[in-house]
């Protein structure tokens, strides 16, 4: 079998903030880099969809001199419900400001005070105002990084490349295999080190505020290659995403802007009762309050609650100015694509998947448990713990992206890579099998839809053993009955169905693992809420759930949380 092969020192999978930072820092470390992006670098991915908030403890250079990396460290640890590995949180908090200054040097504009200090907003879960403000939000950031990558010698960007297998040889990572949409065929990339930066698995659910391609491909790929995955039950939900009308379904409207210092609006149930106390709750608590109203039958016609600023004591002009100032793009998008001005009219909102806190297990150098394989940003884990606070998604992406790139380059300098041809052929055959005609054919997107429906039903914000077991059975059924029937047309370049079939295959694997982790965590903490175990159980569950592939089967275990500085109350 003749498979087109390209060669590089470091392969980076994913063209969002984590991947772009990894590419820049790996190149700085002397490596040649190939960045493999599923869509278009800088435009696709969660970074370009993100808002403007990045946590950075600038202290005297920002809004409050009392803030520091130490205060930020404590905020992340406690709001993560003591499940974040502190060796990684140290890296994040210590390097956040430097990465913001990097971004500034790449041409990104931040809002500043007149005396040059960083403007920072206070969000729930931050002791002092800590979120710096990126003009034109995450999109400006990913484009600034993409342009910096263009200027960086030795970084080659390959767009429209859907990675689907990590290649190994004798227990080491030696590259990546993916569907090159432009070529219309699988292409192998031989690499001495590989960085996973594919973002989250949020699009495995049927209601998300992330783009549809965030299917968590890293998880299935890393698992198949033999790396440890960790805490996959922790999918963070965001409480207030638009459910209706369909044209703007999934758009974020910030609940944080309902705070007294902003619009002073609230969420209302169908009986007209206000839902939030003030000051506003942090995300996991907010989510549960909203979900509870909907479950108890006090929701809106399309299964949400009302996001309503019309009853605020503040004037419409004042409120409009806040949205135009803070989230102008989202505000205008809802006006344009749905014809609704949210200052004038309440919107139906509900919890949607927002961020993956679990993921590929890493240490403070972003090394996974598989040699030569690194992970950064949303797909890596676990430093957010059970609950990510506002401004920590982008912050983890930029800090860990750079860290992964730096260490991957160091590793690549000492190693060589040789592909295992049998393994390459195995995966290429697997991908090509979708092109073969089948009896009672099914389409690639049907596979994804079935997984999404299963996750939406059984991996919802509130879970139970019975539901999760049903979900597991459903995943097994899809794998046995639907997957073998998936057929895609042979249309050459940019074969959307083929990419979807491969994504669906990976999603099936990841969904099974996520449900497995959720089943085993018999307590409630952060964004994992078990109806049958409603209490937080610090005695038994201050630990991570680990899953890996062992002798062809899922093998679950636990490992302690790494505490370097702050122990949970009551733990010695």
């Amino acid at each position: 079998m003749n498979v087109q092969t390209r060669e590089t020192d470091v392969a980076v999978i994913g063209g969002g903030a984590a991947g772009l930072f990894a590419a820049i820092y790996a190149a700085k470390g002397g490596a040649s880099v190939m960045l493999l992006e599923k869509g278009v670098t800088g435009r696709y991915g969660a970074t370009s969809c993100a808002l403007w908030s990045i946590q950075a403890p600038f202290g005297p250079r920002g809004m409050d001199a009392r803030d520091s990396p130490e205060v930020m460290f404590r905020d992340i640890v406690t709001n993560g419900r003591f499940l974040g590995d502190q060796n990684i949180i140290e890296v994040i908090t210590k390097t956040a400001c430097d990465r913001i200054l990097d971004l500034e040097s790449y041409g990104l504009k931040f809002r500043k005070l007149e005396d040059g200090r960083f403007y920072q907003t206070p969000f729930p879960g931050q002791t002092y105002p800590r979120s710096v403000f990126v003009y034109e939000n995450g999109y400006a950031m990913s484009m600034a990084l993409a342009r910096e990558v263009q200027r960086t010698p030795d970084v080659w960007v390959v767009n429209d490349f859907s990675a689907f297998a990590i290649l190994t040889n004798r227990g080491r990572t030696v590259g990546v295999l993916g569907l090159d949409m432009g070529e219309g065929q699988p292409v192998a990339v031989k690499a001495k080190a590989t960085v996973l930066a594919t973002g989250g698995y949020t699009a495995m659910w049927d209601f998300t505020d992330n783009p549809p391609n965030l299917t968590g491909d890293s998880l299935a790929m890393a698992y198949r290659a033999g790396a440890d995955l960790i805490d996959l039950q922790f999918c963070d939900f965001y409480g207030t995403d638009v459910v209706w009308p369909p044209s703007v379904r999934g758009t974020v409207v910030l609940y944080e802007l309902l705070a007294e210092q902003f619009t002073d609006g609230n969420l209302y149930n169908s009986e007209g009762k206000a839902i939030f106390p003030k000051p506003l709750p942090v995300r996991d608590e907010a989510l549960r309050m909203i979900y509870d109203e909907i479950r108890k039958g006090r929701g809106t016609p399309h299964g949400g609650v009302w996001y309503d600023v019309t009853k605020s004591r503040k004037s419409k002009a004042e409120i409009r100015k806040i949205y135009e100032d803070m989230t102008p793009r989202h505000y205008n998008f809802i006006k344009e694509a749905a014809g609704i001005d949210l200052v004038e009219k309440p919107l139906e909102v509900a919890p949607a998947t927002h961020y993956q806190s679990g993921g590929v297990s890493i240490n403070e150098r972003c090394e996974t448990t598989l040699r030569g394989l690194y992970a950064a940003g949303e797909c890596s884990s676990n430093f957010q713990g059970g609950n990510r606070v506002a401004g920590m998604g982008l912050c983890a992406a930029i800090t860990l992206g750079a860290q992964a790139g730096k260490h991957a380059a160091k590793y690549a300098a000492k190693k060589s890579a040789r592909l295992d041809r049998t393994q390459v052929e195995y995966w290429v055959k697997k991908a090509n099998s979708f092109l073969r005609p089948k009896k009672r054919e099914a389409a690639g997107h049907q596979l994804k839809d079935r997984v999404r429906k299963t996750m939406g039903t059984y991996m919802a914000p509130i879970r139970s053993r019975r539901g999760l077991e049903r979900g597991n059975a459903e995943i097994q059924k899809i794998r046995a009955k639907l997957l073998p029937r998936v057929h895609v047309p042979d249309v050459g370049t940019y074969n959307v169905e083929w990419a979807e079939a491969i994504e669906g295959m990976l999603m099936l694997e990841t969904a099974g693992l996520a449900i497995g982790c959720a089943l085993r965590r018999t307590e409630s903490r952060g964004h994992h809420f078990r109806e049958d175990y409603p209490q937080r159980d610090d005695k038994n569950w201050l630990k991570h759930i680990v899953v890996k592939l062992k002798a062809g089967r899922q093998s679950y275990s636990t490992r302690p949380v790494i505490y370097t500085k702050i122990k949970p109350p009551g733990v010695k």
Binding site: T41, R43, S48, Y139, V157, T251, Y494
Partner: protein, 134 residues
Amino acid sequence: MVQKITAKVFRFDPARDPAPYYRIYKLPVEEPTTVLTILKRIHEEKDHTLAYRDHICYKGICVACEARVNGKTVRTCSTLVKPGETVLIEPVTTNPVIRDVVTDLGRTVEREGISFLIRRGALVQIRKPSGSKD
């Protein structure tokens, strides 16, 4: 009330087709529908071979979904078509066509020591659409 949207869609595979052609699809809808949703629904319900970029940033900024709609370059995520209307959907003319309405939004490949942008696919001259609104 269910009405139909009639979409006339540009189809072209530079590697296989001698020339571009148009296909007409009729979709039942109840609400005003975005062009991005129309493309997604054609792909899923009518024709799996249609190539389009399935990406949305929920704020009309990333332009990954950009296309020419009734002769005008727009973001398809925030361009609404009313039930009963006819719409012409074509690729933007500034980038080479990879296939159908998907264009190359910037693609680089390896070359000794530097990264550079190469244009893939073919630049296509789009004739003035008949029945366009502008």
